[in-house]
Symmetry: C5
Subunit: 355 residues, 5 copies
């Protein structure tokens, strides 16, 4: 995880705006998909040539959504830049994974970048990838690092024409996609919350060292998530302030709703963080408690038997003149004394609530 965060240094020495993909190559081939739709129809096609796609998109009477999976072919990004007249730094940002979520309003387009979290298939780890949006006129381009995304339900709604999504502009599509991303943040947080609750139960029942590592791991996940969600608040707030025609006023009530969701995600993360730090304290005091119990047992045993052993030692001495040794009831008398000592000690410990 930490590896992924520090990719940028490999760009040291390059001119700003140089186009180099800074992430790992996660797919073999770039996949380009074009969805064109309006109120009447929807056309979905995969393509190879990006120039063609852009031409089709621009000629279409309706909304076009171009989705690109895989960022390692710099040439494709460059061509898009030329065709749409994008700023060099925008192209650089698309290619530099490890961007902080942000939104840039340019004269002829909006650029937005954020993190998409997906729960990995077979293992329970969380995977994140960078997601860039370029909105220009009736065209929205999305860039993902690899295959698979959280947009499947948006596509279904587009295909089925439910919820009036096909009657709205690209700004609404942009909103719908970001909304899908934020909805998945809830999933991740719910997952973290559940893990934290399991930890809490274990903590009260049988705390061991693994628990602390688990808490530490969850806190790292939260730090990571928080880092991605905090700036999103500003992104959405600024998106809401972008004026018509780029963002229509009818979409703004939805964006405001999205903003509320983002705030709620942030607050939930903070609550989880608060809870997890309380758990570290619980663990520490639980360890102290266990040590206390161990020490009590040791002390009880030692305090009872050490004096007794001493008494036995006394009568194990080989002095020639030890009168007690010859007494008829000496042995049984000393056993009785020892018994009294044991009983007295136990009573003392009971009084002090040790046993």
């Amino acid at each position: 995880m930490a590896k992924k965060k520090h990719k940028r240094p490999s760009k040291i020495g390059l001119a700003p705006g140089s186009l180099i993909f800074t992430g790992e190559r996660k797919v073999d081939e770039i996949s380009i998909k074009l969805i064109r739709y309006n109120k009447e129809e929807i056309i979905e096609e995969p393509f190879n040539e990006i120039e063609k796609v852009i031409e089709l998109a621009q000629d279409f009477q309706g909304i076009s959504w171009i989705n690109i999976e895989g960022l390692h072919e710099v040439g494709v990004i460059e061509k898009i830049g030329e065709k749409l007249g994008l700023h060099k730094l925008t192209l650089e940002d698309v290619l530099s994974v490890g961007q902080r979520p942000k939104i840039d309003e340019h004269d002829n387009y909006i650029y937005c970048v954020l993190k998409m979290f997906t729960v990995g298939g077979d293992h329970s780890g969380v995977e994140s990838e960078q997601l860039s949006f370029i909105l220009q006129g009736n065209t929205l381009i999305t860039f993902q690092e690899k295959e698979g995304d959280v947009f499947e339900y948006v596509r279904i709604r587009l295909r089925e024409g439910k919820g009036n999504i096909r009657g709205r502009k690209t700004d609404y599509l942009l909103y719908a996609l970001i909304d899908a991303v934020v909805d998945h943040y809830y999933l991740i947080i719910e997952n973290l919350g559940e893990q934290l609750e399991e930890v809490e139960i274990t903590l009260f029942e049988n705390p061991d060292k693994e628990i602390l590592e688990k808490i530490h791991y969850l806190r790292r996940e939260m730090l990571h998530l928080r880092r991605s969600v905090y700036p999103l608040r500003e992104v959405i707030s600024r998106l809401e302030k972008i004026e018509e025609p780029k963002v229509e006023s009818g979409t703004k009530v939805f964006i405001r709703d999205l903003y509320d969701h983002t705030i709620q995600v942030i607050e939930t993360i903070e609550v989880l963080r608060d809870m997890s730090s309380g758990m570290t304290d619980l663990y520490m005091s639980s360890v102290s408690n266990k040590m206390n119990n161990v020490m009590k047992i040791l002390t009880i045993i030692a305090t009872i038997f050490i004096p007794l052993t001493f008494i036995a030692g006394i009568y194990g001495m080989n002095f020639e003149y030890m009168p007690e040794l010859t007494w008829r009831w000496g042995y049984f008398g000393i056993l009785a004394i020892m018994l009294i000592i044991i009983v007295g000690m136990l009573a003392y410990f009971r009084k002090n609530k040790w046993i």
Copy 2:
């Protein structure tokens, strides 16, 4: 509790504004009650059909309060939305329990959502449910998740016509209801405060592991409560800023008073949090102190008897030539020496204030 918070993911994949109830179904049937009143009269009736209720409300010369308990019948909410011309997202918010308290001013109505806390009947736990308000003209609609609320005293005041409540508009009714909710926050906080004081007393007298779990539990409750109260400050502040005719200026002095109460609730929660974190420290040091005492006892016993046992061991050796063994007063002499050691040790411990 944590379960309840994370309901929203089940809406993943739905279009924004889709109407789905995200909570648990807590009542069997939706109950609709209509209270119509003006200075002269008050009419209370239960109803089954929501259309009828709304028509009655709109035709009435005075204020109408429609209270709906149970949210699982989406159709009812939809009909209200149609009749009153509400935004889809408002309807979605009414149905999505787990909303962050907020207020939305629309052109033709005000939507407000917050959390209502009630102390459970037989068990001492705190229960929370979502409460939505829709204020349109002379009609106020309230949505609750289940039966039972904190409004009984408001109803009594309405019936008895005390305190001029029947001479005012819906904005005052809205204020009165929110005021009742905030008054119950005081109750919850007082309850938490009392539990915390009990914990404090136990902490000084006889701290055990359960105490820490109790503190942990109280902190969680506070986190939960705080999460609901913090946004309320902003809600009320924005309610105060809504202009006539929706909110009359005569009501604003009351809303300001309510705002002060909310601040006071927040400050009290913060004080309780401060106190509870001081208690965790107290507990930890109390555990350390107890361990210290256990160690002292062990050390006193061991330090006195281990050397004595050694001396007894010496004279238990079987060497043929050990002159002391044949001395007439050897045994008693060694007993005397042991006694001197014991007395010396005890004096040393006393000097160091261990005993």
Copy 3:
């Protein structure tokens, strides 16, 4: 203390503005005192009837200060409200002890409420009571919960006519009274500071469990004080902003001075809080240190004598063939070996700076 804070719930179910005294009844009878003064003369009289007092005050050519001790007779407060035309919520606030310090500017009067702290007579505890001010024209009314206040010096200055106080308006009298209250905050803080220093000295000399309880108690006091002083900053800042004729510009330089004092009180509380939390750490490490020393003594004793006892045990065995037992110098030889072990151990411990 905590009891006192949570009085408000007893008002649940009442209409806002309902007049009910929420505190404990601390005096037997309400006492009403009227001081009328101008540059030439000063008249001090106790009264029984509040109507009479208000008439006298309103007819007087100069400033009138009506001081009311005891809040349990709601009728008196109601009459004042009628005579002066006060808002219902103001009267409710006067009667509800547990108010957060605040200032309300109404059309025809200023209402201000704060906490007055007095050091109790025979015991060292701090007592707080609620203090309300109503300033209307040339009349200032003060409401206290019980007898005894911090205004004695203000009265003396009024009687002696020192410091030009008799030549100024009610706003200056209000300032002078709040100033007296804030001056007493200094006293309380000084007292807390001295106790904290005593704690610190004890902490370095002979820390015990009581010290921690003392620190805990002092922190609670600070929390309580802080809660009362923080809002005062805003109160005074808003008082300064009230325009003529209610607050004259000549008084504002004094109010600004008072504001500076309040800031200083707040900063001192923060410094004390910082110091007290450092002390908890000191205590904890002091406990750890003591435990360390106890463990060292145990370890030294055990490490020296356990091996020696083992050696003595060896030669206490009853094997028939143990050549050493028959040696002429066996016993003394083994004693010499034991001595060497003791000396060696002590040297080792000295080297490690344990003894």
Copy 4:
């Protein structure tokens, strides 16, 4: 130190503006020094009568700096107040040591108060005293609590006419003096930083209880210093905003520079605070580590010898029929077994990296 902070209560009961010196009398006699200078000449004279000094200052064609050491003669301050037409509260503030740093702009003068820190001569403690400035026209008056200050280099620059200081107005002189004070803050901080580094080295080498007291002492010093420096930021920021002719625009670039220095002092204090709190953690864990080592030694010794002693005890029993006792190699066999146990234990401990 804490004593000094709480002087104000002795003023309880006095009218605001009453002139009473609240500090300790630190010098026997008040010393008044007048420095008059312009581009051509500089005249330095001590005086006794303050009226004379002020007349000389006001008649002089150039800048006059009146420095007063010792505040216990209230009459002198009163006369200055009369001559220059100062507000009563200003005079009160001059006399009340324990003021929070602040700046007041009056119609005809500027009043500024701050803390001057000097490192004590023979002992390493830090001494602070209150320093007041009154700037009126071409005259600057400074009030110190006692002899000795940080202005010697400013005087030298005045005498030698270096750095153009003699060609500028009183505002520049005021700047130069505050700059000298802030420069000494650097000295104090450097001193604290060096002590903290010594503490850090000791902490890694040989931590003992004194170290913690030292850290505690340094933190108190930082708290004290911080309290004086934080408000200074605002003071200087407001000084910069005072308009011509009181503060000339040519001086403002210097004041801005001074502001940057103040920010740097504050940031350094925060870094030192951060470091010192890290050190407390280090100390605690160092104590834990030492305890761990002590426990390990105890455990190693006890774990090896307690079982051996038991075995020796077995063969020290006096049963009549114990076959091993009569075996020819019984004794040596048992010795061999013991040796094997010792070696085995040591191997186990080594494997666990205890020794």
Copy 5:
């Protein structure tokens, strides 16, 4: 490191604007290099005389970059100041290492100062040096404390004319250089992050005291870095606000990009700080865990063998009448009893999950 921070006091007593180099002399001779370039050509030359260089720069039709390594020759700085008409305080700031990063806009030039971090060659420590920029017209002067910088790639881009850098003004050059500095911050942070991850792994595997010192060291580095990066945010934000012609609007989009990078550096430092403080907790609990294990072993051994030794002691007593001693199976019976005790104890410990 700490030494370096506190250089300024050596300037105590000097007039503001006095030119004295406050750092260590890190190079033998000042090195002056001039790079002149425009779209067509680029000329790189080293020089000795600063006057000559400035004349050349000012006469050139294009951009001139004067880089000065070594600050100990005050004369050179003075001459630059005269030639370009710089403010005295600017020159003082250039010479005073230990400046807080800042930017000053003067009428005829921009002054900017920040910290450049380089990873030391042979050892892994981080070295920092102060870097000043003076931008006047078509000339940019950079001042470094010593040889070696992070600008090599910028020079290469200038020489090769890549990335359009040669077609832009000095403001772009300034941007490019600061960008190179910030890019190196990423390197340093990546380095810290990797060290922290190593620490984390060690922490889970084999925590020892060195680990804590390492964490402490890393936290100090972060504090140091943070101190340099935090003010940079403001510097760049203010740079962006400087108007044409000093900073061209075409450059601003790059500066905004740089601003985003700085925010990202700051956030990463905060995440690392959060992680490192979690690690201290982990370490502490790991130490506690180890102690717990040690105590368990001690307790198991002691609890098993101390009672057994006592039993052996019983039958080692020399009473004349001890019936068991004469029993035929007494010895084996007692061995059997001991065995039962051992097995019972082990079962008990197993039940409690100690072994």
